[in-house]
């Protein structure tokens, strides 16, 4: 296998490998953080080996905790959730599903992957530089992120690494977005009109459009922040700051300006993470319920409504930031309006399985789990989308629980669903379904056990991004919630070893797969030699009067 391959299948697998590495590292970081939260004074000798400065003598410092948190967030949001569904499965399956021989620009695909790889290296380098990784979180609010080392360890070179990483990632995503949109617009096979595309392709298409419009803004914001830090400009830094008794030589900038730019990107980013997953889940539900997607057109329109409205809701991250209270009301109305197409999708998923003949494969279980988690995480959004309620919940564990459910867990469930679904196509072998079922049930129970307690911590008022809660008297009786979360996190992480084990075993030793093991209809399940002319919608199942219960898109 060539390393700098231009084959979309190889690039897809490379993206997935990068995402698997990032998710494994991100999980390890979160386990260390969870451990620290229940045993803040524990002395662990290998902490000191790994971080001689951040954990001298084996006791974790708050700055180390915060740097783990920053890297955990950045890894998960960018290198897992924005990478696996789009760069991974998208590169691999988009050309197959629309009957294109390859992506529109194979070299661009290759460059886009390797730029993402460089971005990951730049991020990880922050651990190795003086001061360590940045501690300002994945949102990097200035002035904390703009003042340099004086604002805290990790805010020196580590922060610069972070900015370089994010800038590279933005450029890679823009390359990917151009490639995806062009492929979908210009490379579809005969008969594959837009409304015959599987909803997976719609997911990738809408995500690519969002990426195209959003990542340029993050890139610009990153450059401005870099200049404030290294060239002495004052975009985000106001005058007269005294940090550690030093007067800062800046004047007139606005920290809120960063928040506007960042969240103008950052909220659409949430949809970048979840829309491909919505497409995958729609397809998988339809395949294993043996029914067409309920309201295919409504699903497409809902995706576009989410994408469009998603660009006008960024202010709901900033209700209490000091921005005008009047704009909060406008942002709040649009935010709850985004809930409408999301609810439509949920109803349609239920409609898709209603009256079906459900086959409970592992892939299907994860798709059904996605619906459950999406509902649970979405409903808390109804609370947080209102400035009045945000007056209490902003930056509490309620928010942490909410976005992990709706963005993290839901998207990961979609990734798992896709992995179990497409594994036979990718490797020609089957994954073990029994192991998969165990993996699903442990993960499904696990994520609820991890994230539901966080909501109650939030109701108690626990602020997020606290290295420990020893000082807060009002949390003295909530240790049990912290412990449930931590132990559940351990168990859920351990359950993922099952997945990795099953994955590698099946890759080399799994039973050989037939060409279309799930009786699915879309083009990736046809023999490569067959004609690619499309005659049918992507989801023709259980048509009355037909002998088979499915009609492939390429069937006469």
């Amino acid at each position: 296998m060539k390393i700098f391959s231009t084959d979309h299948k190889v690039i897809g697998k490379q993206y997935l490998t990068l995402a698997f590495f990032s998710v494994a590292l991100g999980i390890v970081l979160s386990l260390i953080m969870r451990f620290h939260l229940i045993r803040p004074d524990a002395k662990i000798s290998w902490f000191a080996t790994l971080w001689p400065v951040g954990a001298t003598g084996g006791i974790m410092t708050p700055e180390l905790y915060l740097s783990l948190m920053s890297i955990h967030g950045t890894l998960m949001v960018f290198f897992v959730l924005s990478t696996a569904p789009q760069g991974g499965f998208g590169n691999y399956f988009l050309p197959l599903q629309i009957g294109a021989p390859k992506m529109a620009f194979p070299v661009l695909s290759m460059l886009s992957f390797w730029t993402t790889f460089l971005a990951l290296m730049a991020l990880l380098a922050s651990f190795a530089v003086e001061g360590g990784a940045p501690l300002s979180g994945w949102t990097a609010y200035p002035p904390l992120s703009a003042l340099g080392q004086v604002a805290g360890p990790g805010q020196g070179l580590g922060m610069d690494c972070w900015i370089v990483s994010i800038a590279l990632f933005s450029i890679a995503s823009l390359m990917g977005a151009i490639n995806f949109i062009t492929t979908i617009l210009d490379m579809r096979t005969e008969g594959m009109n837009l409304m015959r595309m599987p909803l997976t392709c719609w997911g990738w298409f809408v995500t690519a459009i969002i990426s195209l419009l959003a990542f340029g803004v993050l890139l610009a914001a990153g450059i401005l922040l870099f200049m404030d830090r290294n060239l002495g400009t004052s975009f985000f830094i106001p005058a007269g700051l005294v940090v550690s008794d030093q007067l800062q030589n800046h004047s007139g900038g606005s920290p809120i300006l960063w928040q506007h730019l960042f969240w103008f990107f950052g909220h659409p980013e949430v949809y970048i993470a979840i829309l491909p997953g919505m497409g995958i889940v729609s397809t998988v539900l339809s395949v294993f319920a043996r029914k067409p997607v309920f309201g295919y057109r409504a699903m497409v329109y809902a995706m576009f409504s989410i994408a469009i409205l998603g660009f006008f809701v960024w202010g709901h991250h900033m209700f209490i930031s000091g921005m005008s209270p009047y704009s909060s009301i406008a942002f709040s109305l649009i935010t709850l309006a985004v809930g409408v197409p999301s609810a439509i999708k949920t109803f349609n998923w239920l409609g898709t399985i209603w009256g079906g003949k459900i086959r409970f494969t592992t892939s299907m279980l994860f798709a059904l789990g996605f619906v459950s988690v999406f509902v649970s995480g979405g409903l808390t959004g109804l609370f947080l989308g209102q400035p009045a309620i945000d007056l209490y919940f902003h930056d509490t564990y309620f928010v942490v629980g909410h976005f992990h459910m709706i963005m993290g867990v839901a998207a990961i469930f979609a990734i798992f669903s896709a992995m179990y679904f497409w594994f036979p196509k990718m490797y020609g072998r089957m994954m073990n379904d029994n192991l998969g079922q165990v993996h699903f049930y442990l993960t499904f129970i696990g994520v609820y056990a991890i994230f539901i307690p966080m909501h109650f911590l939030g109701i108690l008022g626990a602020p997020r991004r606290y290295a420990d809660f020893k000082e807060l008297e009002f949390l003295a009786k909530s240790g049990i919630l912290q412990r449930i979360t931590t132990y559940s996190a351990y168990c859920t992480a351990a359950a993922q070893l099952l997945f990795f084990g099953s994955y590698f075993y099946a890759k080399w030793r799994g039973p050989l797969a037939t060409i279309n093991p799930w009786d699915a209809t879309t083009l990736e399940w046809t023999e490569p030699s067959e004609s690619n002319v499309v005659n049918h919608a992507p989801d023709v199942y259980s048509l009355p009067g037909e002998e088979k219960d499915f009609v492939m898109q390429s069937d006469q």
């Binding site: 410092t61 708050p62 501690l135 300002s136 979180g137 002035p143 904390l144 604002a151 700051l241 005294v242 940090v243 007067l247 920290p255 809120i256 319920a289 043996r290 067409p292 997607v293 309920f294 309201g295 930031s321 000091g322 209270p325 009301i329 709850l336 309006a337 809930g339 109803f347 349609n348 239920l350 209603w354 009256g355 079906g356 003949k357 459900i358 086959r359 409970f360 279980l365 459950s372 649970s376 409903l379 109804l382 609370f383 209102q386 007056l391 209490y392 930056d395 049930y441 609820y448 109650f456 108690l460 008022g461 991004r465 420990d468 000082e471 807060l472 008297e473 009002f474 199942y541 259980s542």
Partner: protein, 262 residues
Amino acid sequence: MGLAILVWILTVGVISLCVGGVWWFPAPISQHAFNFDTHFSRMLWVAGAIFLLAQGLLGYAILRFRDQGHPATHNEGNARLEVVWTMVTAVVFIGFALIGNKIWASVHMDKSGDATIKIEVLAKQFSWNFRYPGPDGKLGRTDVKFIRDSAGNPFGIDAQDPAGRDDVISSAIRVPRGILVELTLRSRDVIHNFFVRELRLKQDIVPGMAIPLRFRADKEGTYEVPCSELCGLGHHQMRTTLIVMSAEDFQIWLKDEDRKPR
């Protein structure tokens, strides 16, 4: 099949945790906090009903439509149903936003009533300072060049300004009960956040800005104020208390503080 039952168990579990209220809000100490709680429980009822309905139907569909050898129905959707549930969710969701905004407006847009107590809040890595005007009712002039933490002058009060000589500086915030208080929130370095759970109030403190925040606390007591916006390595230790006292005690405290030599 197992999944259906599991989804139901989780649903009932989550709902009973909410109903049980073991981990819940502290008692409200202001009219706003009371209104907040009313609105929150209203929201919770509706969200809970949607939660129960959606998860319940999901479980039911999983159980009812599992593969038992029957053929699946061929159904590509139902336009009328789509229109109905779109309208219903739109009305419910937008309705919530509209109702909730009253509470928001009462905090940030209601300028009625004069706040007789004005307090300047200064947040910095990683401590709090509160400044009260002395008997003259005026805060002294400040400048960054006078800031000396070691000399007890975190605000940078200009010693030349007579209005500043009687200013009272405190590391905890004390307010009289039942009287409208106006805070002016300032930060000296990075973004911090002023949060009092019992008041159901939270506001970022942004360097370069002076953000007003008004409240009236109706119940005496001591309440914790945790910094709620990531401000650096000491974020988790940046904590102070809000002490609500009777109006008389407050005046006595203010006089005593003023007499203390600085």
